[in-house]
Symmetry: C2
Subunit: 197 residues, 2 copies
């Protein structure tokens, strides 16, 4: 008989921190230059607090083998840049048929999905929701609430990440913004550069 | 713009029921004949309440494609058969390198893992733990507590299930039983038939 080596990964429900993670990365405002649409609003936020954390990711990866899985937590702080809600950079899996699941542990938000020809879909996140990212979807998490958005994600270990496809198009086709009456709305991204299908 | 077709899958935290599931199966006592070690204790439980639920599984599967994922909830009722705690049948993935994750939502238990040469490992489950089943491990969930054990699982959609490997060996090498002083203990399965390595 043998125990799995400690520490067994565990999520702190309040903070989203994953103990036992094999990797952790953090994105502050200064890491996200060019990601938000409103350059002036971004410059103001950056000047005030360049090291302010926008999101943290903790993950466990054992291998890159097909059939293995990577899992972890994403912790997205609440806030806006202009009218646009805090969000992750967004990516497509390098192996485009690799899907992903996001289980929402805390907070409220939107998972924004874009197919490479440009179709936009949204999945509203609230605690208990399991959002499924189908094959070939660029995806990003957006925190539309007033508290941290914490999700537990899982995806195939051989998926890989393509961030450049988002960067090269100046983002995704739509922005998730604070709606005038409260809540969120999708608006066209004015800087969007059509991708080659 | 288009929304993902409703209903978006969501877990009821109290019951573990997954709305939006594409499949649900239930195992009652009568479905589990031969799974527990103590035949006389099993016969008594069966005579008293043959339709008593031992566990429910809800899952979402979109395809069997490599790179796709199946996710869902496992809801294991508390109880014992003799001294052995309620548990799932246990299986090996037909594609043996496919791993699995179990996020514990509620309750306490043990994930019992057995490599095909016969090595036993255990992972204690409590809310927040993410248990990882490495490649080539027979695995089963065991409820060692007094309330439902609810987990959210995720595994590759092409994994498949081999239940026969457990059945043919009269179970797994070890039993998870109520310890004399409370809590749980591993004991040898007296009926275990060594697998061919």
């Amino acid at each position: 008989m043998a125990a799995i080596p400690a520490p067994v990964p565990a999520v702190d429900a309040a903070t989203g921190v994953l103990t036992g993670a094999t990797a952790h990365y953090r994105k502050t405002l200064r890491d996200l230059e060019g990601v938000f649409s409103d350059d002036q609003a971004f410059a103001r936020r950056l000047a005030a607090a360049p090291g302010e954390v926008v999101y943290d990711v903790y993950e466990v990866q054992r291998s890159q083998a097909p059939g293995d899985l990577i899992f972890g937590t994403s912790i997205l702080e609440p806030g806006v840049v202009g009218s646009e809600f805090h969000m992750t950079r967004g990516h497509l899996h390098a192996l485009v048929d690799r899907v992903e699941t996001y289980y929402c542990l805390r907070g409220t938000g939107v998972l924004l999905l874009e197919s490479v020809p440009g179709g936009i879909e949204t999945i509203e996140l609230r605690p208990g929701v399991v959002a499924y990212v189908p094959p070939a979807r660029i995806h990003r998490s957006v925190n539309t609430g007033n508290e941290r958005l914490i999700t537990l994600f899982c995806y195939p270990a051989d998926a890989g990440h393509d961030y450049e496809i988002v960067h090269a198009a100046n983002g995704m086709r739509s922005l998730v913004v604070r709606a005038p009456g409260g809540g969120w709305a999708l608006v066209d991204n004015p800087r969007y550069r059509q991708r080659d299908a």
